[in-house]
């Protein structure tokens, strides 16, 4: 049996986080101080291969990307569900396997529906 997990076990992560933030902040400030600052209106325009930029970039966008993101959320949650089972599946035995099999069949049914519905079809 492993020892009880304490919140203090996660302390190294906090340290690592502080180190990371410190490192990035230092480089950002350093480059701000070291670099030249010569700004002009044309220089600050957004880059469009040398042609004058046309309008705003924040325009309506293909819904397909959003669909993929939603599908990811669905499937990723399923994958997270499987982790506890994957660690303990030997103790759970055949019942666990059967339950996981049912779970996967349900998942794949939904997956089949998505494919047939054409959610991943790009023209």
């Amino acid at each position: 049996m492993q020892h009880q997990d304490l919140p203090s076990d996660y302390f190294p992560m906090v340290i690592q986080f502080i180190v990371a933030v410190g490192f990035i902040a230092t480089t950002m400030v350093a480059t701000h101080l070291l670099g030249p600052k010569r700004k002009s209106k044309i220089k600050l325009e957004s880059f469009e291969c040398g042609i004058e930029s046309q309008g705003n970039a924040r325009i309506p966008f293909s819904i397909k990307y959003f669909l993929v993101a939603i599908l990811f959320v669905l499937f990723d949650v399923e994958v997270i569900f499987m982790y506890p089972w994957a660690v303990n599946f030997k103790e759970l035995g055949t019942t666990g396997i059967a339950e996981m099999f049912v779970f996967m069949v349900l998942l794949l049914t939904g997956f089949y529906y998505i494919i047939k519905k054409g959610a991943l079809k790009w023209e």
Binding site: T27, T31, S46, F47, A69, V79, I115
Partner: protein
């Protein structure tokens, strides 16, 4: 024998003898912080140089060979150049998000460095949820990428960020499922337990068919997750100039670049840990003589050798396969890799229950 763990232990002892335990712990944290940052910078320099040399030799060129001995100082010179360049923030950009995005991307890759075991008994943070921690933290970087693309107010950046977001989240599923096959075989998600379970053979050999399928899927998925060719749609130079970091310049660009290369190292290190035994030397069954010879090679060399072999493999892909289109890319993941990895998971469960692995 001189080993990294031995050096770390003697430093720990010396600090505890010289200072009180509180100060010693604090000093250790400072030391580890400095080590991580220098390792980070060193990795960036080495990997960029390696990428340029590998690319050059694959195209029958010589690559950088002027600065320093055989061009070794080339990337260092490039870094110095990038530091003293002007970091522009374009007029139309969302200033806060624009400057916040590099933080997020780099913090994600720095946090991922913590649970990796670099050598025998040498690990910054041996957490009991190691694998879960890695999958969780690695998904943060996509937020940074989307943030960078959207805040730039540039059409190329937005397109690149959207593509990269869709791609990273899709391929994360297969990578997670491939990792899970090893979790099933090893029966633990603590990284040191997974390495210890490979003492008499690496999982790619012991787990035979399902482990090899999982390994192939893992390599494909991480190539896509790190936005490497042939899946480099996010920054396809010929169509989107530089994708989500088109508007970044100077050190801000360098931070994205650095995190990209460090991410390659990290995914390869995790692949080496899960499938190729981490720092475990190559052992063949009960062949004592051979195993003893292999034990003489330091564990850190084993780990680095395996990791850099995988990195070389990923660099090799870049010059072998043509770039995919976004619909082909998503089809590959959702219609092929995801079902295959789900079935592979069932297969590995079956094999593990029957005990049909070594």
């Amino acid at each position: 024998m001189l080993s990294i763990a031995g050096i770390a232990n003697s430093i720990h002892q010396w600090l505890n003898e010289t200072f009180s335990s509180g100060w010693a712990t604090l000093l250790e944290f400072v030391l580890v912080g400095i080590l991580v940052i220098s390792f980070f910078a060193f990795l960036g320099l080495v990997l960029v140089f390696m990428e340029r040399k590998v690319s050059a030799y694959m195209q029958l060129r010589v690559g950088p060979n002027r600065v320093g001995y055989k061009g070794l100082a080339q990337t260092l010179a490039d870094t110095i150049k990038l530091v003293v360049k002007e970091g522009l923030t374009p007029d139309g950009a969302d200033k806060f998000l624009f400057n916040f995005a590099p933080f997020l991307v780099l913090i994600a890759s720095m946090l991922l460095m913590a649970p990796i075991a670099f050598a025998k008994d040498f690990q910054i943070w041996d957490i009991n949820i190691g694998v879960l921690y890695i999958t969780a933290i690695s998904s943060i970087s996509v937020i940074g990428v989307l943030m960078a693309g959207w805040s730039s107010n540039n059409k190329y950046s937005l397109l690149g960020a959207m593509r990269s977001g869709a791609q990273i989240v899709s391929y994360e599923l297969s990578a997670g499922l491939a990792i899970m096959t090893i979790v099933i075989l090893a029966g633990s998600i603590r990284l040191s337990d997974i390495i210890a379970s490979q003492e008499n053979g690496w999982w790619i050999f012991k787990g035979h068919i399902p482990a090899i399928i999982a390994f192939v899927i893992y390599i494909i998925a991480v190539t896509a997750e790190t936005n490497r060719a042939p899946f480099d749609l996010a920054e396809a130079e010929s169509e989107l100039t530089a994708g989500f970091h088109t508007e970044y310049s100077g050190m801000k660009f360098a931070l994205f670049f650095l995190s990209e290369y460090v991410n390659i190292f990290i995914v390869c290190a995790i692949g080496a840990t899960l499938f190729l035994g981490g720092w475990m030397p190559l052992h063949i069954g009960h062949w004592e003589g051979f195993n003893h010879i292999m034990d003489f090679i330091p564990s850190s060399l084993w780990f680095m050798g395996k990791t850099f072999f995988l990195i070389f493999l990923i660099m090799w892909f870049r010059w072998t396969f043509p770039r995919l289109r976004i619909d082909q890319l998503l089809n590959l993941e959702w219609k092929y890799l995801l079902p295959i990895s789900l079935f592979n998971l069932l297969l590995v469960t079956f094999i593990a229950l029957m005990g049909w692995y070594f």
